[in-house]
Amino acid sequence: MTMKFFKIASKAIRETFRDRKGFFFLLVFPIFFIAIFSFGFGSGTSTTGILPHDITVVNYDVGTAVISNNTTRHVNYGHSFTEVLQNATLENSSTKLFSLHNVSEEQANEMLRSRSIEALIVIPKNFSAAFTSMVNDSARTAITSKVGAQALASGTVGQNQVAIQSSQTRTPNQTSAPTQQVLGATVSANPTGNALPKNVTLPKASNVTSVLSVQGDSGYTNFLYAQGLITTTFDQYKNDVAAKAVANAASGGSYRPLADYIPIEMQPIAGTQSFSPFDYMVPGLIIIAILLQVSLVSASLVRDIERGTLDRLKLSVVRAFDLLFGTFLAWTLVTIAQVPMLIAVATGLGYNYSGSTLSSLELALVIGVIAGMASIALALLIASFAQNEMQALELGAMIVLPVAFLGGAFFPLPPQVIEFGGMTFSVYDVLPWTHAISALRSVLTYGTGLSADIVVQITWLIVLTAIMFVVAVVCYSRVRLRPEA
């Protein structure tokens, strides 16, 4: 038995490639599209970003114990800094600098890749310990500068003591003294605030250091802007804490910035060190090329109606399955040609392809083919209702560009979350192409293999595409393939 869908697919491919305008639109236009975006975004652009910046803080800080007034207190500078970030506002304004998302590090990493957040701050385990070292060192330096090296050489002093206690610096001979808490640091200070007494106990110096990690996609201008603000906020926080400690400990001693106990380190997502916005966009552009099929397929289907060739097919013994599967098969082959071609062109134009050789390409093809199927489903829906070829083309264009934007082809849109059945969804997630773009970006730009997240994205893509396809096939069959009522 002849497999008619092969004949239909073969016919559709011949028609497509013999139609020069269609061929241009399908294969050459996306290349121009990519070239234009490479020119516009390939070298990176700077924007001021939109406030507040979406960030996530993952706080692994275990805190530190502070003994004051014979009581042990637990302080956590990581928590304190998180609160500072949460409350930080633009100068002379109530506009918040950051919007914090409370998710795990793993989730945050995925969100970074999908640009749902702009930066991820990881506060290390010994953050408070390092902070205490810094504060002690600051206070010690301030006191030293006041009393002089000679006074200090005498060792133990009398009743008025200055001590900063921590698990790292605690000494057994400390005496009680009034204490103040300064941004989490407990500082025993001279209560009078006058000239230093003779007997002074210096806080013990320690050299605990830590690194505050700020992670993000270095090809994303919003990350660059967010990390600048994070650095400024952190420097300010450190200075405030140290300055207050010094003020309390040395009663008016001036604070000078010391060696940085907690440097801030920018960590680009793996492979994004030399990324530009173009690298972010390429997977989206590939999906746009696949989405362009919507106009072409719907126009070709409506052309069959207008020219009466669909009636010829309806009069023949071809089944709806052959007709629709044949159409799908033809355009799938086009997609299979398109995806590697566009990756190659983009790479030639400076795209940082991070795919791991063949498997990434295969995965990209699978994603592309399913996205193509979703496009064909959309085309069938359009062809079910369009009155003529021009209307199909117009409808296709009208739908495709907003879908590309909403799917995050160019930039991530602010999340529009809806709650359903106790679960939250982003409204864009109902579009299969959103998942296609996200999965393709993970595979091609961030070099992710078949990770759990990709599997989830592809599963959503398949489910949504299947729903769309069933709706479209039923709709098209009822409206176009049955005898007219």
Binding site: M1, T2, K4, K7, K11, R14, E15, R18, D19, R307, G308, T309, D311, R312, L313, K314, L315, S316, V317, V318, P483, E484, A485
Partner: protein, 313 residues
């Protein structure tokens, strides 16, 4: 096997409030060319669409070979639509082969059938040209070939010769006759060309406003409807014209008699059968007839007399 290839029984179609086809009853015989005529908007295309299964009737039914029309009959019906319907990007041969594939014709048989049709419709030279590049006449011939590639028993040809030059039209007429005579096909022919319908049809149905007005052979229609045949008589002695005219006007069945340019002009239905009687009467009156010419009643006259002169669409 039923005597009739196709029958319609009380076939009716209403679209909105408009009655497009009104209780149409037709019986189309096997191996006949059945002319299906009517003015624009008379309901021909709607009727054909129902007869081939593209449109569901509001009521009534279509019987194919005695059985209710269904998908099982698809291979036995061919339809050549009025508008050119083909895949422009495919060549003539590809169009035909693709259409044959859609009917599931085995490759060797299909190849032979395609070659035969290309040959019969003088398309062989254009076989490898894409349809988009063909002239109107060649496209028209390809349009017909596409409806025949699966070798159907009954073929609906809707305006098959529209836009054809005289040579192509003659070729097409021969081809249509050969379909009946050599391939035993039944042909339903819709045309606005009365000459074509007259020349090709075994029987003709004329419909208007969705109703069947008359169904008969072309001769039958012409003998009973329209203005009639026109007979011109030249008398030996034109001075006898007035007397002869008076005689003619008294003959039963003569619609009109008048003198024009020295000749007597007589108009009557089926005048040829009345002609011997007319000549006898004139000769008995003492006038000799020197010349006789007859212009037959045309199908167009019949058509106009049935459907009127008012424009439709």
């Amino acid at each position: 096997m039923d005597k009739y290839a196709l029958k319609t029984q009380n076939l009716t179609k209403t679209i909105g409030n408009l009655l497009v086809v009104d209780n149409l009853n037709l019986e189309i015989r096997r191996r006949e060319i059945f002319g299906f005529l009517g003015p624009n908007g008379a309901g021909k295309t709607t009727s054909i669409k129902m007869m081939v299964g593209l449109l569901n009737p509001t009521s009534g039914r279509v019987l194919f070979d005695g059985a209710k029309l269904g998908s099982a009959h698809k291979r036995r019906i061919g339809v050549c639509p009025q508008d050119l319907s083909m895949w422009d990007a495919l060549t003539c041969r590809e169009n035909l082969t693709f259409m044959g594939d859609m009917y599931g014709i085995p490759a060797p048989r299909l190849e032979a059938r395609v070659n035969k049709l290309l040959d019969l419709l003088a398309l062989t030279e254009k076989a490898d040209q894409t349809a988009a590049k063909l002239s109107g006449g060649v496209k028209r011939r390809l349009n017909i070939a596409l409806s025949l590639v699966h070798d159907p028993e009954i073929v609906f040809l809707d305006e098959p010769s529209a836009g054809l030059d005289p040579q192509s039209r003659l070729l097409l007429w021969e081809f249509i006759r050969s379909l009946r005579d050599e391939e035993d096909k039944t042909i339903v022919l819709t045309t606005h060309g009365m000459e074509e319908a007259d020349a090709l049809s075994d029987r003709i149905a004329i419909i208007d406003h969705g109703k069947l007005l008359r169904l008969d052979t072309p001769d039958g229609l012409k003998q009973t409807l329209g203005k009639g045949d026109v007979v011109e008589l030249q008398l030996v002695n034109s001075a006898m014209n007035a007397k002869a005219l008076a005689l003619m006007r008294s003959v039963r069945g003569i619609e009109e008699a008048y003198e024009l340019n020295g000749k007597i002009v007589v108009r009557a239905l089926d005048a040829t059968s009345k002609l011997p009687h007319i000549i006898r009467r004139i000769e008995r009156a003492g006038a000799g007839v020197s010349d006789v010419s007859v212009r037959r009643n045309s199908l167009e006259d019949v058509f106009v007399s049935l459907t009127g002169r008012a424009l439709r669409e």
